[in-house]
């Protein structure tokens, strides 16, 4: 049986997480590499198939939006882990703490004194024109002044090996269940590596999540519920998983009722009060009386109960304004403004199409840039210049010109690559990194992340809806 062979593994032109440009194995990958080389292709593929089966039997499936039939897919989990050494991780952690602290101060300011606007750190119109800025939230003070309690920040590593923040997800970031389940599966795949490598555990995430939610209320014991849009939502697996792991109730909008500005669950024994809701329903849909009237997913009166302080919503409504892609460009200045510090984890350079000078540059260099719609996510509404056709570019130029506020552009970054199994071959594939941050009384960052991988050769799009898969992410304790 032929053994796994890495001699033809090619890193040309990219930053590879396992191998340096001279072909040397980075120290934190040494044990994994040795293990792989001792294995036959057959064994490796067998382990991969067992993983697919494990995911099916765990029901780790999701429906893709465009498939009306609701075709169930698993998010492909590549068994070769992505490994991060302790030094890099500690740096990421410091960067995230700084960023999340500043973003929450920013949110609290935006919905209260708006000093940041008065001091002209960020253009007023940019905020007020954002569809995610909720004027209904003006004057609100959530517990601990924290607005975004649960964040999943997208981080990438460029060709120079530096880390950059690509996107802040301050609304309902998903994927943490994959971080946890991937780890469970990989422990079965490579038990001996876990024994030898000092991988930091992620298991306590759901405990910490529960602690975070409980820390926001004085009521003990608090009744905690996870609010889901229901089983047809693509992240339903995660909603159910988190509710179950936390020992919380999993509720849909129709399970809740608001009476006298308090929120209750409808149970077989009558109505039962709910104190904290980890809601995985978007702002627009949580309450048809306050936001979208046509929402079938929400509970009438929920927002009012929240405003009166009778229920805690996590994350707080209104956080979307701070992860708007146009606001992103101002984050280094926002950090400086609130903390007096330079940004630790840098942003990717960003051109704001709403600014004349940047717009000109974007229109002239569109074939070199990644253009993003500011209010879209999931890899939709995006143009990757170098990989696009003239027609696609022309289409985007038209769109940008008609509503520049809705677009930003960034240089195309060659995301770092990680060895990935593809039949009888191991090849580099592009990845990003989404760590999860909890913020109640204090900030807690779990030493792990969801690594998303673009499975298609050469592809830079890692989103699950666009052919992306995932990897377990091992954060090591440096010895």
């Amino acid at each position: 049986m032929s053994k796994v062979d890495l001699s033809s593994y090619n890193t040309k032109g990219f930053f590879d997480e396992m191998m340096g440009s001279e072909g040397q194995i980075r120290p934190h990958y040494a044990l994994l590499q040795e293990r792989l080389k001792k294995m036959g292709w057959k064994k490796l593929n067998f382990l991969q198939q067992s993983t697919d089966r494990a995911q099916l039997s765990l029901g780790m499936t999701f429906n893709v939006y465009s498939d009306n039939q609701g075709i169930e897919r698993i998010l492909h989990l590549d068994i070769i882990p992505r490994i991060i050494n302790g030094k890099d991780w500690d740096y990421i952690e410091r960067g995230l703490k700084q960023r999340i602290t500043a973003l929450n101060l920013f949110l609290d300011d935006l919905y209260n004194d708006q000093k940041v606007l008065k001091d002209k750190i960020i253009p007023k119109e940019l905020i007020l024109s954002s569809s995610t800025y909720l004027k209904q939230c003006m004057g609100l003070k959530p517990p601990e002044n924290v607005w975004s309690h649960i964040t999943g920040t997208d981080i990438i590593r460029g060709g120079d090996g530096s880390f950059y923040v690509l996107e802040d997800n301050l609304r309902c970031p998903s994927g943490v269940s994959y971080m946890l389940e991937n780890r469970e599966i990989l422990k079965r795949t490579f038990p001996e590596l876990f024994e030898k490598l000092n991988v930091r555990p992620v298991l306590d995430y759901t405990h910490s999540l529960r602690d975070t939610l409980e820390s926001l209320t004085n009521i003990t014991p608090a009744t905690i519920a996870v609010l889901t849009p229901g089983i047809y939502n693509s992240a339903y697996f995660e909603h159910a998983y988190l509710a179950q792991q936390m020992g919380a109730e999993l509720v849909e909008g129709r399970d809740l009722v608001v009476k006298d500005d308090f929120v209750f669950m409808i149970t077989t024994k009558g109505l039962q009060r709910v104190d904290v809701i980890y809601r995985r329903v978007d702002d627009d849909f949580i309450d048809p009386l306050a936001f979208r009237k046509d929402s079938m997913l929400g509970t009438p009166g929920l927002f009012n109960a929240y405003k009166k302080g009778n229920v805690i919503l996590v994350n707080a409504p209104g956080t979307g304004v701070a992860d708007d892609k146009a606001v992103y460009a101002y984050i280094p200045r926002i950090i400086k403004y609130y903390l007096g510090e330079d940004i630790i984890l840098p942003n990717v350079e960003t051109y704001i199409c709403d600014e004349e000078k940047d717009l000109q540059y974007v229109l002239e260099n569109i074939d070199q840039l990644v253009v993003k719609q500011t209010d879209a996510s999931g890899g939709y509404g995006m143009l990757i210049g170098p990989k696009s056709t003239k027609e696609q570019q022309a289409e985007f130029i038209k769109k940008i010109k008609s509503s520049p506020r809705n677009y930003i552009a960034q240089p195309t970054i060659n995301l770092s690559r990680v060895p990935t199994l593809s039949g009888e071959e191991i090849e580099g594939r592009h990845v990003d990194l989404r760590p999860y941050v909890l913020y109640g009384k204090e900030i807690k960052i779990i030493p792990g992340a969801l690594t998303r991988v673009a499975l298609e050769k050469g592809s830079l799009v890692v989103n699950s809806s666009q052919g992306g898969g995932s990897k377990d992410t091992w954060v090591l304790n440096d010895i």
Binding site: A240, Y241, I266
Partner: protein, 321 residues
Amino acid sequence: MLSRVADTIYWMNRYLERAENYARFLDVNFNLSLEMPQDISAQWKPLVVTTGDWELYESLYEKIEKSTVIFFLGFDENNPNSIFNSLKNVRENARSVRPDITKEVWEQVNYLYHLVKEEKLKKRWQKKDPRGFFTEVKKGCQLLYGIFETTISRNDGWHFGRIGQLIERADKTSRVLDVKYHMLLPDAKAVGSPLDLIQWAALLKSVSAYDMYRKRFGKLTVQEIPEFLMLDKVFPRSMLRCLIHAERSLHTITGSPTGYLSDAERQLGLLKAQLEYADINEIFASGLHEYLDNFQAKLNDVSNAIFETFFSTDNIMNSHK
């Protein structure tokens, strides 16, 4: 417990019980058909009548064929009660109450669903002998009962699930008895001929009652078979036994040891008492078919009353002061 969750668990268990029953019916009927004269229609139509799906069958298919009936009851997406659809429902229900069941339950539910899905892709109903499939479904369901039994706390959810299972079971036993009994009755005097014995034994086997019946009565008789399936106090699939246990679970949920606090308890209690104090000869005198028909209708009322009492959002909100 959330009303929606209780409702979902109730139906999840009904569908599971339904799938197991359908698999057993098909298995027994297939066996029977191997030993019977070659009148396909007489062998397979009663099965579809028993499950209550005959009207739908007629509207979809012109002919009665073995493979069509197996497809219809086993795999047909147009039949809401087919094994495929039942297990699909079990899974969707399980998915939406995932935090209220255990990982073990969920994994087995998934396994069962994928099993049927794969066999559907392989067009198992066209194969010469599909019995292996029926056995796998039966065993898969039974394993799931066992996992429920050993991993789920005896909380309200468990009891609602149990009630769903028992109501479905009582309903299916009454239907099998109703249809088969009246088909076989014209020859009742002739019980004892090999052909009759096979048929009566098949009736018992289709509700897994053959062995326990033999133990209880020994000889197959036209009086004692209905008596066993309806009124036996210790056989787990008899109509009475199902209702005794359903009532116990209902009382556990409400916390009232006897009598009733809700309409659901009252209706279930009445129906159970009717069986408990019934005399089989009186039932024969007034008509077995009418009796069973009435039983099914009342059982349906019980199910509706449970919905109104525990699951209906409007009722619960109106009763909240």
